[in-house]
Symmetry: C2
Subunit: 476 residues, 2 copies
């Protein structure tokens, strides 16, 4: 997308932003950390100017790739390699399916989404609550949800950075789930957190605390600015990318000053708004371009790259599908290592759809299949089969076909390839109806992954104890 | 997708196929042409073995790129450059829209599709009848249809190769439409024909005649084997690509022996069948991989590359959209110069949908937008705007935004970005409903492109005369 010179221009411009405009750091601890390391105060007390020297120093200690350890070691993943890791939609306030429509996020739907994430091999981790269980009080929501993640799935999961105590609860829970002490946890990153800067150029207190607490313990920080071009970022992609880059680098500096070498991911979420209405748009040409350019910036810094599978549709229709595939096209061509919101995201993130979840899983499997090499050798070419089929003949019966037909091609979960007549007789089902059937079948087949009963008990004890203690105090 | 060695392996394997199995050439004229040039007869009389020397010689005379001239010179296009040329669905036996459902192809729908093709800038040419007007007798169908193409559109169009006289009628009509004599027509290619081999390894008489008649007059031949892996081609992509390549090369040899330097396009259509049912599948991972590999083969021969936008869905639902975008992803990443069936194709080509037509046009526009560079310079980056917005501020009001907001981003024709509540109040329209409204609006606004009244009259005279003569005799 961009030339090397253009990438350097974005890099240089973002350094200027950090030096001249700086970042508002709404945490005294964060400001002190930066000032101690040589940063200076800007015009306002909480604005910190970060010079390029400090950025360059911090870039020296980051890591190219690292593992994220799951409770089930088969599900341990690696960021920054050839592997592309897919996580479901995170943080949707609503859930929906065909049977019950759109509703407020709730614990029961939350748990069902985790079960789907566990059932589908193409989902490698969870990152945030697929839907926000609004029926659990925020003081204890993270306890219930983290215990669910540790029990209902055995894949890598994520902790929200919403205050120190919530980070600490997550760290305790992953330690119990994996049977680790502090030292082992630090050696084996097992938890990730998504840090969203409050664009433009502001890091709120919880986000700074999250970076520090997670980096201190060598857990993974994914810094993702929400640079919506035209709203929270300049109306040009050049500007939005520059600001995104400045914000990522500011978080990177806090992470590496806290703990040099702490695992850090370059997250990008640059999209644009509809300039007629101000509505956020996703899966747009601008989104795709930004994904490609962001991947280049991440590679400039030798950091793993996080992108997303997004759309702004209100129903699981053609729009939801083409915006999604456009997003994935940008993410995959941008060489993303970690794709969040990869399954189930609708309405610009406001709804998690059960049907979209399994439809996306099917699309992700197709993309995985697409990226496998084509074996090329004499046996595969099969000139014998062409002799056998003959001019104008048919290959179904050839030995070459008979040996291979069972797993020659990817078999989709959703696509309906029946001819029009047969399909009409079957009631003309849309893709969404197939997805509805599939998601329910997957839930019906779900079984909890095996867990050591002692670990299970410890987790339950932790849950009960922390809930009795009131979780994290809130003022409501 | 493939390494240089692997591309050579496919090339070499396809030469072996031409030498050892050969191609069934169901035209005496074609066989004589090949035999005169040194080819030999195979086991059966109409099977011709083509040796590698002949292929290599013919590859020397092909052209990298060439123009295709339209009646309106603004619509002249070029194959083989950075331009990607999009043509609508071709040859569907049915048409459909939401109002009247699925029906047999007819003249009225055919003309409406031409009007849409004319209305949409992203459609650069037509290639085949978007829908087959079954209500016109085949003896005169091509006359009516070609005159429509010359009058209702002023873009490049295509002639079916269904017998010499039909090719000749098309050549006469384009000469009248563009006011050319034979010599000028030969200097300015203005017509293309799609030649489908009758896979495996058979060229039927009409196809051979088409290659010869068009090449003789320096018009464009697009040779596209229908190598459906597992049915008309080996069950492996290596085999299907090898066979595809052999079939393309056999047509190339006929074209270049007829007229060295005649414009020739490498067409690829390799997809797979559903091995459970035998149903053809499109927009699959295998389809995408084949498109990438085919693009490499075309570049190996320095030929323009033709791909398609396909899907096997029965309704304009999420499946139709994701299979389409997957196809386009393969075509675009495969660097296709010419994308046929780019708008309106449904059901593996059995239906042309009015709604899908405009939805695809929107997607094609997004892809075009995606491929434009991101301007990177100080003015675009807009550090001033970041100063002006301030930490946590908003960019709507900045000068940088005000100067640019009108055309900062692509404005889609179909996507509905309203929030859920507003969208629900509006009756929860699906993408297909927006497409239905749009296609009718485009038809309502359609005006015939300007034409010299004398040319218009000559075209009408030709139409009346040839219909009076009975067109091309059929035995029914």
């Amino acid at each position: 997308m961009l030339s090397e010179d253009e990438i350097e221009f974005i890099h240089e411009s973002s350094l200027k932003v950090l030096e001249q405009i700086g970042v508002e750091v709404m945490s005294a601890e964060g400001r002190e950390l930066l000032l101690r390391a040589g940063a200076t105060r800007g015009k306002a007390d909480d604005v910190i100017l970060i010079d390029r020297g400090m950025v360059e120093e911090c870039l020296k200690t980051t890591r190219n790739s690292f593992k994220l350890h799951a409770r089930n070691s088969d599900n341990t993943i690696e960021f920054g390699t050839d592997q592309i890791c897919f996580a479901p939609v995170g943080s949707a306030p609503h859930s929906s399916d065909m049977d019950r429509g759109r509703r407020s996020g709730n614990h029961s739907d939350y748990r069902d989404f985790l079960r789907l994430a566990q059932q589908l091999n193409i989902i490698h981790l969870t990152s945030g609550y697929p839907v926000e269980p609004i029926d659990i009080h925020p003081s204890i929501r993270h306890i219930e949800c983290l215990i669910d993640l540790a029990v209902l799935t055995d894949k890598v999961f994520h902790a929200y950075s919403l205050g120190r105590q919530r980070n600490l609860d997550a760290l305790e829970i992953i330690k119990i789930a994996r049977g680790l002490d502090d030292e082992q946890l630090s050696r084996e990153p097992s938890l990730l957190t998504i840090i969203n800067s409050n664009s433009p150029l502001r890091l709120d207190a919880n986000m700074v605390t999250g970076i520090i607490e997670m980096s201190l313990r060598n857990q993974v920080v994914v810094l993702t600015p929400f640079t919506l071009s035209g709203a929270m970022a300049p109306v040009t992609l050049a500007g939005a990318l520059t600001q995104q880059n400045a914000e990522v680098l500011s978080g990177l500096v806090i992470s590496q000053l806290t703990s040099p070498g702490a695992p850090f991911v370059y997250g990008a979420f640059t999209s644009n708004v509809d300039m007629r209405s101000g509505a956020p748009a996703f899966g747009t040409p601008e989104y795709m371009k930004a994904a490609l350019a962001s991947g280049q910036l991440a590679r400039r810094y030798r950091l793993p790259f996080r992108s997303s599978n997004t759309n702004a549709a209100n129903s699981v229709d053609a729009q939801s599908a083409y915006e999604s595939v456009f997003s994935l096209w940008g993410a995959i061509n941008g060489h993303a290592h970690f794709i969040l919101h990869a399954a189930g995201w609708m309405e610009g993130g406001l709804t998690a759809s059960f049907e979209k979840f399994v439809m996306d899983a099917d699309m992700l499997q197709m993309i995985s299949e697409y990226m496998l090499p084509i074996p090329i050798n004499e046996e595969e070419v099969g000139i014998d089969a062409m002799f056998q089929a003959g001019h104008g003949g048919h290959f179904f019966g050839t030995d070459h076909t008979q040996k291979r037909y069972r797993d020659a091609f990817y078999t989709p979960m959703i696509s309906d390839w029946r001819n029009f007549e047969t399909w009409s007789e079957a009631g003309s089902p849309q893709a969404m109806e197939h997805a509805n059937t599939l998601y329910k079948a997957l839930l019906a087949e779900y079984e909890e992954p095996p867990i050591d009963p002692a670990v299970r008990e410890q987790l339950e004890d932790y849950r009960v104890r922390r809930i009795e203690q009131g979780g994290v105090k809130t003022d409501f």
